[in-house]
């Protein structure tokens, strides 16, 4: 089963401490050498990007420096793991590193199974998504 991890934290984005970078580097290396990490990436600060939003029937573009965001995505990783229990254990380990090496940091790691890689949506789930799309 394939899982994506998306890490968000409050603005302004803090750079990881050297200790955290080193600890994350070790986990990354372990996961690559174990053949479990498929992809990963850090994202440039929001300032370098943009937000394209739809609200009240209108499309608007806000350039990076002007985006007012309380939380921002820092990075993502994709792993091939046996099951949800493994994915949870991985996520907890990753977040524990933040607790250990960057005290005071707060944030969220969202763990999502990727569709189609050992996970098929049930007929009910597909119907629900379709129904929502039609309603919207």
């Amino acid at each position: 089963m394939r899982f994506m991890y998306i890490v968000t934290s409050p603005q302004p984005m803090q750079a990881p401490t050297p200790a955290l970078m080193e600890a994350m580097g070790k986990i990354t290396e372990r996961e690559i050498k174990a053949g479990r990490m498929i992809d990963n990436g850090g994202l440039m600060p929001l300032r370098e990007g943009a937000r394209i939003a739809i609200a009240n029937g209108k499309l608007s573009v806000t350039d990076g420096p002007f985006v007012e965001a309380k939380e921002v995505i820092g990075g993502y990783a994709i792993f091939e793991l046996r099951d949800k229990a493994e994915a949870l254990a991985m996520a907890k380990e990753f977040m524990q590193l933040h607790l250990d090496y960057m005290p005071g940091w707060e944030g969220i790691c969202e763990m999502r199974a990727m569709i189609g890689h050992g996970t098929e949506m049930s007929g009910d789930e597909k119907a629900a998504i379709l129904a929502e799309a039609i309603r919207a």
Partner: protein, 418 residues
């Protein structure tokens, strides 16, 4: 949390840490089979302690500390034995002194240890079945039960297989080698064979089979990724990885709603996994950059890549496939490869050209009971308007078919001949 939940959580935490556990122990003990045993013991320890104490905040650290403690106990016992026999315990002393720096150097060496593990598990001295079980155990962290389910074998059989394999390695003194350079290239063939065996076992699983069976494809892919990580200059390792990624990319398109297989040329290509195809093509590119063009796995990957690159069945570059089969056929004398070449040549140059190849292999003993030989011949004869012969060929194919589905298909083709 139910007992089953706790068990799953413990197993998951152990599996996450397992690569570091086994590589650390391997390095400490200089003994791969022993490292495997103590890694398993560490799992047992967690299964005994955590249901009551709870899963620790840092499960990896707990597991590693437990594993190291067991390894040190083992080394100390060895040291006592050595003293008993009046041997110098200098080596063990040095080992103990090296411990404090151990963690730092391991992180550089995890690749080295992984290399040792994978080449030890797939040692040519072991049967391929034994090597497969050992590799799945040591590199992928599968339990005996999971391996047994994957190979449709009794758990006791797999257990015995692993015990015997470890004993064979210990008795032959092959507990801690480092194949390098030429030796690595030679030993690579065994490793590739074992990994490919695991992949094919998973690939031929049918819908409705135990979930562990198709999961074998993922485990083989994982082994393939580990392998290119530890042998980054070996083109055939990249070739095998490419072959597996490209074949696995069609997983969602291979069966219909009833679980019946769909032929490649009839699959809905929108259901192919393009990310996996991209990775497969990247691995193939790497293999070619390393000079691996004529390799056995690289050639097979190249053939599958022709299909992967075609947006529709009609866009398939059959000439290229025919050419590749020609090279493969020259390298590996195999009537089955010639049969596949005949199909490709038939698509590229017309049924007469394809038929010529079929006629050349008509008497091959290996194909005597292979239904696709008359099946493909029937197809060519039909296209050439030789209807009576075509019908006879399809009927022969139906008679030789090994299962209902193939028989039905051949009978249908016979009926469709005017």
């Amino acid at each position: 949390m139910t007992a089953a939940d706790i068990h799953a959580a413990i197993l998951a935490a152990w599996r996450i840490e397992q690569p570091r556990l086994i590589t650390s122990l391997s390095r400490m003990l200089r003994d791969v089979p022993l490292a495997e045993e103590l890694t398993q013991d560490t799992l047992v320890a967690a299964l005994e302690a955590w249901p009551s104490s709870g899963v620790p905040e840092r499960p990896g650290a707990w597991l590693m500390a437990t594993a190291k403690r067991r390894a040190l106990d083992h080394l100390r016992r060895g040291k006592m034995l050595a003293r008993k026999h009046g041997m110098l315990a200098l080596d063990f002393e040095r080992e103990q002194q090296a411990m404090p720096d151990f963690d730092a150097s391991l992180d550089d060496d995890i690749g080295d240890e992984m290399l040792r593990l994978i080449f030890t598990a797939c040692h040519p001295l072991l049967s391929r079945d034994a090597a497969a079980a050992l590799a799945l155990r040591m590199i992928c962290g599968l339990t005996t039960e999971e391996i047994a389910r994957a190979f449709l074998a009794p758990e006791a059989t797999i257990s015995q297989r692993i015990v015997r394999a470890k004993r064979t390695l210990s008795e032959s003194g092959l507990t801690y080698e480092t194949p390098r350079g030429e030796a690595l290239a030679e030993r690579l063939a065994s490793v590739l064979e074992v990994v490919y065996l695991i992949f094919n076992e998973g690939y031929t699983a049918s819908r409705g089979d135990d979930w562990m069976r198709p999961q074998l494809c993922q485990e083989a892919l994982r082994l393939g990724r580990v392998l290119v990580g530890v042998a980054p200059r070996e083109p055939e390792a990249f070739g095998l990885l490419a072959l597996m990624e490209l074949n696995a990319s069609r997983a969602a398109a291979r069966t219909d709603a009833q679980g019946e297989p769909i032929l490649l040329l009839e699959q809905d290509r929108m259901r192919w996994d393009f990310v996996q195809i991209r990775r497969g093509l990247q691995a193939l590119g790497r293999a070619q950059a390393l000079g691996g063009e004529g390799g056995y796995y690289v050639l097979q990957a190249e053939i599958i890549a022709c299909h992967a690159r075609a947006g529709t069945a009609d866009a398939t570059d059959w000439s290229r496939i025919a050419r590749l089969y020609g090279i493969l056929s020259a390298r590996v004398r195999s009537p089955i490869i010639e049969l596949n070449r005949a199909v490709a040549v038939g698509m590229a140059e017309g049924p007469q050209a394809g038929l010529a190849i079929i006629e050349a292999i008509a008497d091959e003993p290996a194909l005597r009971n292979y239904h696709l030989l008359p099946g493909v011949r029937g197809d060519f004869l039909h296209k050439l308007g030789r209807h009576a012969e075509a019908r006879a060929a399809f009927e022969m194919a139906a008679a030789l078919a090994g299962n209902r589905r193939d028989r039905d298909l051949m009978q249908r083709r016979a009926r469709e001949v005017p």
